[in-house]
């Protein structure tokens, strides 16, 4: 028997020759009109519907500043929710006082959650976790079944 590497090399050479001899495939005649049509459609879009990189400088700066402010507010809100509403007062964040009602709601929700966790028997929690895991496994099984029944035959059909 001829060695595997020799067969592989010979096959590689043979197929390289065949594949490189293939001419380019002709692009569909509709391609050019599709490209120009899409360019015209994109050019007609208002600036706020284009990608961020194409926005004018002014709105880009405002947007970045807004994002930074929002991130800061979220961070401060999170910290104050963890530390407590009173400590927020202590750090003198008087300017954020309009956030206090929301923080009170968040703190109350946290307290309620903690209370529920204390009230629910541990067995129920374990059972809930087990049911969650079972549902996850079922979802995985359904995904695998859907792949085998729907996606793979469709893929084979496209070939």
């Amino acid at each position: 028997m001829i060695k595997r590497t020799e067969i592989d090399e010979k096959l590689e050479r043979l197929l390289q020759q065949e594949l490189r001899a293939l001419p380019l495939r002709r692009a569909p005649s509709s391609l050019e009109s599709r490209v120009f049509g899409e360019l015209a459609r994109r050019a007609a879009l208002p600036w706020w519907r284009r990608s961020f990189a194409k926005w004018p400088m002014g709105p880009r700066v405002v947007f970045v500043l807004l994002c930074v402010a929002l991130m800061g507010a979220t961070f401060l809100g999170g910290v104050s929710a963890v530390v407590g509403v009173r400590s927020l007062d202590e750090v003198g964040a008087l300017l954020l006082s309009w956030l206090q009602p929301a923080l009170v709601v968040m703190a109350s929700a946290g307290g309620l959650a903690a209370l529920l966790v204390r009230l629910i028997p541990p067995l129920w929690i374990y059972a809930g976790l087990a049911v969650g895991a079972m549902l996850y496994v079922m979802l995985f099984g359904l995904g695998a079944a859907a792949y085998r029944m729907l996606y793979r035959p469709a893929l084979a059909g496209n070939k």
Binding site: E18, R25, A27, L31, V35, Y147, K159
Partner: protein, 179 residues
């Protein structure tokens, strides 16, 4: 655009294995080229730029639509793949292939055989033979291991050869006994 559209479409079609997807990819490539028109105009590397962008977009396109199924499609263990790969090739490789066919028939046969290959074999094969990428570069682009690239390309060659051989044999049989 007219100078490069066949090259872009061919590259996309061979990678994607589907003409409709290839047209979508080609459209996006030329839109990007339009956005970089000032850089590309008069540049001698426009063809290479277009080919690279086409390859990357085709890979992104395939990944985007197939990532959700990857978990299920790649469930077979690496050990099982290695075992399969250990099987020796029993057939002989001739010196020429499809020599009795005309150029047009030959091209059509090779193109259709190429499109019949599964994605995980066709992609590395096309990248190796048409894009001149090394095994290592293909592994990086496809985000798979180097041994997997080598195995997939080897299997792709074997499958392509088998398809071409069987098509050729079927054609011979048809020529000998047309009824």
């Amino acid at each position: 655009m007219r100078a490069y559209q066949d090259m872009v479409f061919s590259t996309a079609a061979r990678l994607a294995g589907n003409d409709a997807q290839a047209e979508d990819i080609s459209q996006e490539v030329f839109i990007r080229a339009y956005e970089h028109f000032s850089d590309l105009r008069g540049s001698g590397t426009a063809g290479g730029w277009l080919k690279t962008v086409t390859t990357n977009l085709a890979l992104n396109y395939l990944n985007r639509y197939r990532k959700r199924w990857r978990l299920f499609s790649e469930m077979r263990s690496a050990a099982a793949l290695d075992d399969e790969d250990c099987a020796e090739i029993e057939w002989q490789v001739p010196d020429t292939l499809l020599a009795d066919l005309g150029a047009e028939q030959r091209c059509a046969l090779v193109e259709s055989a190429l499109l019949c290959l599964p994605d995980h074999q066709r992609l590395p094969l096309v990248m190796y033979h048409f894009e001149d990428l090394s095994y290592q570069e293909i592994a990086i682009k496809l985000n798979v291991s180097l041994p997997k690239v080598k195995t997939d390309i080897r299997r792709a060659r074997a499958a392509l050869f088998a398809k071409l051989e069987s098509s050729s044999a079927a054609r011979d049989a048809l020529d000998e006994n047309p009824t």
